[in-house]
Symmetry: C2
Subunit: 153 residues, 2 copies
Amino acid sequence: MKKPCNCPHTHPKQELSSLTTRLRREARKITGPRAAILEILHQHRHPLTNKEIHAELPKGECDLATIYRAMQMLEKLGMVKRFDFGDGVARFELVVEGDDGHHHHLICTQCAQVVEIGECFPAEIEHRIARQNGFRAVTHRLEFFGVCPDCQK
Amino acid sequence: MKKPCNCPHTHPKQELSSLTTRLRREARKITGPRAAILEILHQHRHPLTNKEIHAELPKGECDLATIYRAMQMLEKLGMVKRFDFGDGVARFELVVEGDDGHHHHLICTQCAQVVEIGECFPAEIEHRIARQNGFRAVTHRLEFFGVCPDCQK
DNA sequence: TTTTAATTGCAAATCATTTGCAATTAATTG
DNA sequence: CAATTAATTGCAAATGATTTGCAATTAAAA
């Protein structure tokens, strides 16, 4: 379950400083480890596991436990979104300010390649499901799985 | 994350024997622990965790490791379907013969009550997603979360 | 009933994630 | 800029779910 992320895509420059601003706003310290973690998340568009983030950091830069703690905090602040691909490992993606980060992925079951999906579960159907069962504040967790072009060869 | 399953619903009688038949067909032994596990799954319509299954069994009836092994095997044979509610614990449901068991749930984030959902992600949209990305054999994992009627009070 | 391969119990091993705690440090204050 | 303080970190140990090695047991075939 891994694949080098050779995408040169980085998020808009502005974002990084806005991230530290957001942290400060919450009375949180901008520490070396945190800046480094945000930097890594910033350079990858795909969800990363804590272990992957740890591996990206210069050796000894930051403890794995610190990354776990940072992700918990960032998630609580809504700066990061947690994804579950069903393999028992949490993955995280930076969330653009003002957005809730809700979206889905298409994952290759052979090589774990991840594609971000624009589609979402139809809101009308979700509302109907909520109504029919008397539930409130209904959302969903949705991920697609299949075999990518490369792995079909 | 638990709730007594006070549903008297059991699956059609016929099923149980057909289950053992299926096992035999696969050159698998019908052992006490396995029969007991199938019996438990048979009496519950909601997904159960291995620990819950273990708790349902008469004390000392069967080791937890045996249940883990049995579920792995039953899943491979397609007799059981694994569900992931995102809380780090696997849940299983018996699959009706001839069916693939694909369906979804609506889970209360407060009391963990589970409702089985009839709706599914629209096939046309899924096909489009597969096509647009060149993926084959695409499926999805989908669960809904919200606050149930009881927990709204 | 014998033979044999599948299965089980039990303990130890894995893995991801969390946590206690003392040492370190960012940010504030004077 | 130095002192003060609460937040943060590293490290090791603790958790929890799940897996695995292995010797003893047992279902099913012969």
